[in-house]
Amino acid sequence: MNEHVSARIALLDNQLVDADRRPIGRIDDVELSLENGTLRVDSILIGAQALGERLGGTIGRGMAAVAARLRPRTDPPGPARIDVALIEEFEPLVRLNVPFRELREVAGLERWLARHAIERLPGAGRAD
């Protein structure tokens, strides 16, 4: 990609949706790597833990700590990440080329609440 795309405008804080345009979360941070003098965006980070760590300060640390404790124990530690290779388009929303159910590591709270609380209510429908 040679045309100029600002990571600040195209990625950070933008709405992330899955292949079916279902909202997943916001792009709370990005992970960079340095390769032969070129900075690359490797993955996007999703969730309040990433956002809290990015904001910093007492409030940010508190948010990150709460979010880290709300993450399911089966998930790897640290903020949830999505490989940039999964991004289909930037405009108008950042859209992935995979459906939500295949992204096992992101939005753990959404899945947990759906499975343990909301799906059990009559007429709530199914999450997937």
Partner: protein, 412 residues
């Protein structure tokens, strides 16, 4: 006009009434009418113009971008400022959910004679059932139609056969009545602004536009909703002030209970009028409970990018559904602590007034972004009215807390 357009027109218009008249208005208008007559009626006119301007702007942003105004805020002004806005807006709307829910319970107390605290859990359960079972549009339509019962206030004023020249003299005198201080007068300016220019109306209007899948071609329909709905709400607000003026002012009666809001109608129109007023109060507070509840859910969901809203099954918006249900439970619990709903309302609307500039400025900036808005970018009229509203709201915001403290919430 096609039948479908007419249908959508009544729908949106009715929901705009429901959004404008809520517990804050019912309390503030009756208190203001009893103490100051119509000397604060100009504030309602200013509020209506201001909220129309910003509802139209946020509606236009939603049409163009298919994103609600608050949803855009975070990516445009950064997560820090947006978080501060979220916390402020959340505290105010969450307090209002509790106050509106108490309002529903108070309307049921008026109808039944049983103490309102008994009705709080019933009202909360009723909210859950309605939200869970009725589709978005039908839900609006029902409380919108019932809310039209509030027009009984306008009828009551004719029936009370007022001296119109006295009414006009009061309206044309923007100053405290003898025996009242400027501090108290200005405090109630803040209260009326906070009660009538409520940010949740803006969030709800733009999120509702997104949920109803309005597109740029629906611009005229959106504007009709704004142009008819909010002035009608303002008319009802002034009618409540006038009714309280006619009945309470000369007697020097202080309004400190919501039943007094309905009393002028009962005096003018008897039992039927009283019943209609209760139906109107019930519908207005019930509609406002739904709107504040959803607006709070929207604010959180949009900040964190969660899926939200009523158009999909609740299980596909699990975080949003859980957050709104939790908020409703907390509000009901808060109402059951016997905290006075009228005091909570007054405090909430003063905070709301203080927040206005912080919530208006991002909307004005976004609506002026030519790249984003294209042909729907703000024109001169929207910018002029919007800027004046912001200037006025800055003055109100600066004065809000000093006046709250100095006048001890309008007591002296």
């Amino acid at each position: 006009m096609k039948p479908s357009t007419l249908f959508a027109f009544t729908l949106g218009t009715l929901s705009a009434i429901g959004g404008f008249i809520d517990i804050g208005d019912l309390v503030a208008d009756a208190q203001v009418g009893a103490r100051f007559g119509l000397r604060l009626a100009w504030v309602t006119v200013v509020s209506v113009i201001g909220i129309m301007c910003f509802a139209e702007m946020s509606g236009r942003i939603a049409l163009k971008t298919q994103r609600p105004a608050f949803g855009l805020a975070r990516s445009r002004i950064g997560p820090r400022y947006a978080l501060a806005g979220l916390v402020g807006a959340f505290l105010v709307t969450a307090l209002l959910v509790m106050a509106e829910l108490s309002g529903v319970a108070l309307a049921l107390e008026l109808a039944s004679g049983f103490h309102y605290l008994l009705w709080v859990p019933v009202a909360a359960a009723f909210v859950v059932v309605v939200v869970w079972t009725l589709p978005f549009k039908l839900m609006h339509r029902i409380y919108g139609v019932l809310g039209l019962a509030m027009l009984v206030y306008v009828v009551a004023i004719w029936k009370l056969d007022p001296d119109w020249s006295t009414m006009w003299r009061s309206t044309a005198t923007p100053a405290p009545v003898p025996g009242e201080t400027w501090g108290a007068y200005l405090f109630f300016v803040v209260v009326l602004i906070g009660a009538q220019m409520t940010p949740y109306e803006m969030f709800f209007f733009s999120s509702g536009a997104v949920e109803s899948r309005w597109r740029p071609k629906d611009l005229a329909e959106m504007r009709i909703n704004v142009i008819v709905g909010f002035p009608l709400g303002g008319l009802l607000a002034i009618a409540i002030q006038a009714a309280a003026f006619l009945v309470f002012f000369d007697l020097g009666v202080q309004v400190d209970h919501i039943s007094q809001t309905a009393l002028p109608v009962a005096l003018a129109l008897g039992q039927v009028g009283f019943l209609l007023a209760i139906v109107g109060i019930f519908a207005a507070t019930f509609g406002a409970t739904l709107e504040t509840l959803f607006a709070t859910g929207y604010e959180i969901a949009q900040y964190f990018g969660w899926s939200y809203g009523k158009v999909q099954p609740p299980a596909r918006a699990a975080r949003f559904t859980t957050a709104t249900l939790a908020l409703l439970l907390i509000s009901a619990a808060l109402a059951l602590t016997t905290l006075d709903p009228i005091t909570v309302t007054i405090v909430a609307v003063v905070f709301s007034a203080a927040l206005l500039p912080f919530l208006f400025v991002p909307v004005l900036l976004t609506a002026n972004d030519r790249e984003l808005m294209g042909e729907l970018v703000n024109g001169r009229l929207a910018n002029a009215v919007g800027s004046l509203t912001i200037l006025f709201s800055v003055a109100v915001a600066l004065a809000a807390f000093p006046l709250l403290v100095l006048t001890r919430a309008g007591v002296s």
